[in-house]
Symmetry: C2
Subunit: 137 residues, 2 copies
DNA sequence: TCTATCTTTAGACTTAGTCTAAGTAAATGC
DNA sequence: GCATTTACTTAGACTAAGTCTAAAGATAGA
């Protein structure tokens, strides 16, 4: 069972229509960094009459209200991320999949010290190969 | 005057057609991180009959041969970068402009130490406001 | 209920990018 | 030098991602 999405939307100043709740139920609980069309196709499985425009509008509204973030990391693709806390990203070069890397896993030094730039935010973008998960015995 | 682009292309195993030289003359000497269509429109100023497909093909060929890099940093836009050395990027949130940040300006610690990921490359992506250049007296 | 506002919808439109089929140009063979 | 093959370029068709529009549907208030 899902937590009450409608209440969460209202808390962020969003009227919880059926379509918006359906989008929220998917996009707020994924760790897959989906594109807008991926969200659309997943939401349509349970809500077949939802329109493409509504999904795009809803995702943009969620970004505006701070429920999710929009990322552009690779291949000119825009994806959405329900993790709005500071964190880094790792891109698997073979699969294209994007993984979260905890903020504390890395430290970047001298960020405030860059001549001529006032830094408001930053993240490290890493690329490589994900090691196959070692199964525990 | 420009250095001899044709020779440079040949050194990278690229036959230097007039169109490719025209693309090289612009894209290898910019620090603006242009999109493919921006390159096309700049190249057409001096070479009005060049086609869109040729510019796209040429840029992709240059990437494949290691003359330039393709970046996806913001707004779902793909841009090209003639600086193929390791460096970081700063994005001005007001103008959208992308600036190079020297590799030595920052240090990222513990990169090799991330559980489950084999890191082949990384960069720091910073966002903020560029300070207006202090004019010298 | 009547009305105003908000939301959703289908489809048109736009932009970025790839693909195709035909035409040019350059290289190779004789 | 001429014929043939190969490489390159071209215009335009096509696709994918995204926005916009105009009409319809839902919600909430008077
Ligand atoms: Mn595309
Ligand atoms: Mn777009
Ligand atoms: Zn993330
Ligand atoms: Zn750069």
């Amino acid at each position: 069972m899902r937590p009450d999405e409608a209440a969460l939307l209202e808390k962020h100043g969003i009227k919880p229509s059926a379509q918006r709740v359906a989008v929220a139920e998917f996009v707020l609980h994924t760790d897959a960094h989906p594109s807008a069309d991926e969200v659309w196709s997943r939401v349509r499985e349970r809500f077949p009459m939802v329109s493409r425009a509504t999904v795009y509008n809803t995702l943009n509204l969620f970004v505006e209200k701070g429920l999710i973030r929009q990322l552009t990391l690779t291949g000119g693709r825009v994806v959405f991320d329900p993790n709005v806390e500071k964190h880094h990203h790792f891109i698997d070069e073979e699969t294209g999949r994007i993984y979260d890397v905890p903020w504390e896993a890395l430290r970047v030094s001298r960020v405030d010290d860059i001549d001529g730039f006032e830094v408001h935010a930053y993240q490290v973008v890493l690329r490589g190969k994900k090691r196959s998960r070692r199964r525990r015995t």
